[in-house]
């Protein structure tokens, strides 16, 4: 089977929410000696990004989003088996929290579901999480990336507080930070000194993977 066919099948398996097919395609790719990273990046990930786009347009819904993420996860598990050493360097841990004072976590949940499918271990601290707790957990788990979500203009300053606290404690260079949530913008990220901003879950996946490389 050609590379193009494998990539297309990988994408289609996710779009069809067909976990068995996704696993079969992943195994076939390995059997044919195709680079697993390429299958992931140009096949399965294309599918999951399309799913994310359809979700944001109201054309597919949460159950489909979750099940497609499950299919992706199963395929990634197969591909992971063939990635030795190299994969371990690419995948890291991430802390994710909705900041203190904010109880919104639907968007965070979606983002986590998608990010996990890419082999990133996400430690979800839940909602209404104080900055001290976020830093403490990042230290405990040896995270590379800290992600915070805020859905209220009144809670956004806690994202800035995280940046300030990290600097105060001499930990700022140890972590990459990413922010998201409806009122957040790239300008806000620039203003507070966050490393990245993601407008939605699909963009969050790409940004987190990029941050993991550093």
């Amino acid at each position: 089977m050609s590379l193009e066919s494998i990539l297309n099948d990988a994408k289609q398996a996710i779009l069809d929410i067909d976990e068995d097919k996704a696993v079969e395609v992943a195994r076939q790719a390995i059997a044919e000696g195709i680079d697993p990273v390429k299958v992931l990046a140009d096949g399965f990930s294309v599918g999951i990004r399309t799913i994310g786009d359809l979700f944001s347009r109201g054309e597919i819904f949460m159950p489909e989003l979750i099940l497609s993420a499950q299919a992706m996860k199963a395929a990634v598990a197969v591909l992971d088996e063939s990635l030795v050493g190299e994969a371990a360097e690419k995948i890291g841990k991430m802390i994710f929290a909705t900041v203190e004072g904010d109880v919104h976590d639907i968007g965070k949940g979606i983002a986590i579901a998608l990010i996990q499918t890419q082999g990133v271990e996400v430690i979800d601290l839940g909602r209404d999480v104080p900055v001290d707790k976020i830093i403490e957990e990042a230290e405990t788990h040896g995270a590379k990336v800290i992600g915070t979500s805020a859905l209220l203009t009144t809670t956004m300053p806690n994202q800035e507080k995280l940046e300030i606290e990290l600097r105060k404690r001499g930990l700022r260079e140890k972590y990459k930070t990413i922010i998201g949530g409806a009122p957040c913008t790239q300008r806000w990220a620039d203003k507070i000194g966050a490393d990245a901003y993601a407008e939605d879950a699909a963009e969050g996946v790409n940004k987190v993977l990029e941050l993991m490389k550093h």
Partner: protein, 349 residues
């Protein structure tokens, strides 16, 4: 090249050229038309929208004779928590009517959910009675279905936000369906108490905030309220430009609720028996005001054309083209209002 002052969706001020504004208007219109599968605005309408955005003066207004009525959600609380003026709610109703010129208003509790309100409804009805004794304008009672409050540990139902990530889809859907029954019961109960207290209407605000089951609860509650209290007005306010599918398969009158845009939301609202539909289009903080208002007007125009009941567009922080900022800037608010009324043909705000 001359530039015009406008704003981003987060309220920050920017300057744009005429060409940039026109480009963003077109992109906003196309985005709405593509997502909602609805018609574009006409070139004439886009030209007029450009005129509204670039009009001199901080404040703009509708042409004489084009004025519309206003309703509000939790209006009687807002002077307290936005302006920091401690004011009893029935007094806030009077100020809204006699000082601010409100056409109608709702009384809501700070715990703005029917589940929370049912337990203190005996404290809420005297506020309504007092307001009704003093006000001339229609006074409604408002709250949210807020289906999430029915999940454990706050409520009796399993938490679908925990079940879904575990791919326990059937269990998550069953939990949502069960929560609908609880929410409908609470909304009908509070509506009945408020009817007895003299309320002119009930506002089921932000229906769909917890997804399609939340929207369904609003529709089913409306049916029952209208059956029991036919002369009690019902306003259904939406939560977003499309209904989020947390369940995905729920239907009302044979129509799947998830993914419906305002022009289809309003048809279900009508079928349920509501008197007013509060259309919502969310503001994108990363886009400009011209993009956001063009997109909003496109959705609203299609909604009003489809509607047989009045459409009162939500124009507050983060919706209706208004920026997502603590104090919505007056330049943006008045331009959004004018555009929604004169181009979108909104019946009210």
């Amino acid at each position: 090249m001359s530039e015009f002052f406008t704003r981003m969706g987060d309220g920050s001020g920017i300057y744009m050229t005429a060409a940039e504004i026109r480009e963003d208007i077109l992109k906003g219109v196309k985005e709405a038309a593509d997502h909602g599968k609805i018609p574009d605005l006409t070139q004439e309408e886009m030209d007029y929208l450009f005129d509204i955005i670039t009009m001199p003066g901080n404040i703009v207004g509708v042409e004489r004779g084009r004025e519309v009525v206003s309703t509000s959600d939790s209006g009687s609380c807002k002077m307290t928590y936005h302006a920091n003026i401690a004011m009893e709610r029935s007094m806030a109703v009077m100020v809204s009517e006699k000082v601010l010129g409100a056409d109608s208003i709702d009384i809501g509790n700070m715990d703005y959910s029917y589940k929370a309100v049912k337990q203190i409804v005996h404290n809420e009805t005297p506020v309504m009675e007092l307001a009704q004794l003093n006000a001339v304008i229609p006074v409604l009672y408002g709250s949210m279905p807020n289906l999430g409050l029915y999940t454990k540990p706050d409520g009796p139902v399993e938490n679908w936000s925990e079940l879904l990530p575990l791919a326990k889809i059937d269990e998550a859907c069953a939990a949502q369906e069960e929560a609908v029954e609880h929410a409908v019961r609470d909304m009908v109960f509070v509506a009945g108490e408020m009817y007895e207290a003299g309320a002119d209407g009930i506002n089921l605000d932000t229906c769909g905030a917890s997804g399609d089951a939340d929207f369904l609860a609003g529709l089913l509650a409306t049916e029952k309220i209208k059956e029991k209290y036919p002369d009690l007005g019902v306003e259904i306010g939406a939560a977003g430009e499309f209904v989020l599918g947390m369940h995905g398969k729920l239907e009302y009158d044979g129509t799947r609720i998830a993914g419906l845009y305002p022009h289809k939301q309003v048809k279900l609202t009508e079928k349920a028996g509501a008197n007013i539909f509060g259309a919502v289009v969310n503001t994108n903080t990363n886009k400009t005001f011209p993009w956001n208002i063009a997109r909003t007007v496109t959705f609203v125009k299609a909604c009003v054309e489809a509607a047989e009941i009045p459409v009162h567009v939500n124009v507050g922080m983060g919706v209706g083209g208004i920026s997502m900022s603590e104090i919505p800037p007056i330049d943006v608010v008045t331009r959004a209002d004018k555009a929604l009324i004169e181009i979108g043909k909104a019946d009210g705000l």
